[in-house]
Symmetry: C2
Subunit: 306 residues, 2 copies
């Protein structure tokens, strides 16, 4: 088994609205909805154990020394991330990895799909690092299943795999789900006021939320334009009773300044297409819609890409 | 109707192998197979008529003056391209467009999917230029249908929409077809010896070809790695009796030099992953696998993309 350190970049994903579709099979479970993938995202580095022969001794003593689970870091700080562990387990390489280093442009727990990005980035980079020969659909499925089983997300992974401005028509992993997209590129601004627990919302009663999400999706599919995405998102936030006060106030400020903003689902985050937050006097982070979707990072393609 | 000139870039697509799946419904018809999308491709510029009011006079005199069909140019030379006309017709904007300018990095008729790129680029750029509000799947379907009806291709459009190293698991446009991909990035080299007519091959008996294509797909899906893609492609070229002598000789040269090459389906073109053609003493064009897939081009996203 060839082993080399490998990196993947996965765009952040701001969900504009969604409906939850649980299922006993985590590959079938997921969400319908729409959102925006971002050039701000998460880079994942997977580093195999240096010594290939270590794998044999490790089999006899899985918890000892460097033969155990890999170290996981986020922006240099040691952390634990269930989805990373689960993806490595699903690929059969958890004890063969030395460490997984995540570097995020976007805050955790604020509605940018960091856990989905970590899951998918780990899958792509580990497949490359250990030359596992899995297809892209298989890797997306493994990352999606990890997210669903951990309760950290329902639709980020498939959206992040696709890139652009994805519409999730049918829930679930490749082979079950179905995607479309709004053909557009746009500047995206965002301001985060703090964390909001996706797990807590998804674990509660999601009936009202999902009804609002289905209405928003019907509206967007009738007119798949950026302006309709933002309007449907605001209506969803109000109908599903998810708006937090700082975000609500910021949306009003942007609207008053002639722009269009909404809330990231689920985070204390306001996002705008164009320069709406700047125009309203905020000091937002600025990025763009991500045209690519999740991908391996290599220096050759980086320099020549167009 | 807002109108502004709009541009789209669509990657070239080299088909490694395929099986043909005709159907009375052109959205259902298509091909299974696999290939490589390229950073070399086609940029399409759609320019609406300058005068919006011209549309009214044009309705009365559709063939007169600038009220008729748009001028189509390829690398500055006036040309005719059935798929471009058909896509504009399907979108209802053929008489509202002043001209469509195609700029291609790759040669026409040599197995790079230029007609598919022109069809899809026209769809994306016209949707933006005339603010038509179609979704990405709808635009891909329109371009795919134009290709199939003109007999110029069966699987390029869906592959070019996706990018990367696409595997076409099920034939047809979005909603019918199904795609996977090999998660890899690679340098791609190619040399073209001349044209080969896709129309002529597709119009003949494709039974042997399709049997060989199905075997190649089974082989690749069992082991979705770049090396297997190339080996399956060479086997397909031999089994389907498509190899032309210059390409056959070049493949042998690359193999003798320790590399891996195959023939672009359908063109007098040899392509290699890595530096196989250079190593064998050829002077190839060099590009990379395209990570993005077809997309609108705007200067803001171009400078900030990562």
């Amino acid at each position: 088994m060839a082993t080399e350190r490998s990196r993947a970049f996965v765009p952040g994903h701001v969900t504009a609205f969604f409906s939850a579709h649980p299922d006993p099979d985590p590959a079938v479970a997921g969400s319908r909805g729409a959102g925006v993938t971002l050039t701000d995202g998460v880079e994942t580095l997977v580093v195999p154990d240096a010594d290939d022969h270590a794998a044999e001794s490790r089999a006899e003593n899985p918890s000892g020394g460097d033969g155990g689970a890999p170290t996981v870091t986020l922006d240099g700080e040691e952390t634990t991330m269930g989805v990373v562990d689960d993806v490595l387990d699903a690929l059969g390489v958890r004890t063969a990895a030395d460490h997984v280093a995540l570097a995020s442009d976007v805050p955790v727990g604020a509605g940018f799909g960091v856990s989905g990005a970590a899951a998918l980035g780990t899958a792509l980079a580990a497949n490359e690092a250990f030359d596992l020969g899995r297809s892209e659909n298989e890797l997306v499925r493994i990352a999606h299943v990890a997210e669903v089983e951990r309760g950290t997300g329902l639709g980020d992974v498939v959206a992040q795999a696709r890139g652009g401005v994805p519409i999730r028509i049918e829930p679930g992993a490749p082979g079950h789900g179905e995607l479309d997209g709004i053909p557009t590129t746009a500047r995206v601004e965002y301001v985060t006021f703090g964390e909001l627990s996706t797990e807590a919302v998804l674990a509660g009663d999601t009936t009202t939320l999902s009804d609002a999400g289905e209405r928003a999706l019907t509206r967007l599919r009738r007119d798949p334009r950026p302006a309709t995405l933002m309007a449907a998102s605001r209506e969803f936030a109000a109908d599903a009773d998810l708006l937090v006060s700082e975000v609500d106030a910021a949306i009003d400020d942007v609207t008053a300044a002639g722009g269009s903003a909404s809330m990231a689902m689920l985070g204390r985050t306001v996002f705008a297409l164009g320069a709406g937050l700047s125009a309203a006097g905020y000091d937002p982070s600025v990025c763009h819609t991500h045209v690519t979707g999740a991908r391996l990072v290599d220096d050759a393609s980086r320099s020549s890409r167009r």
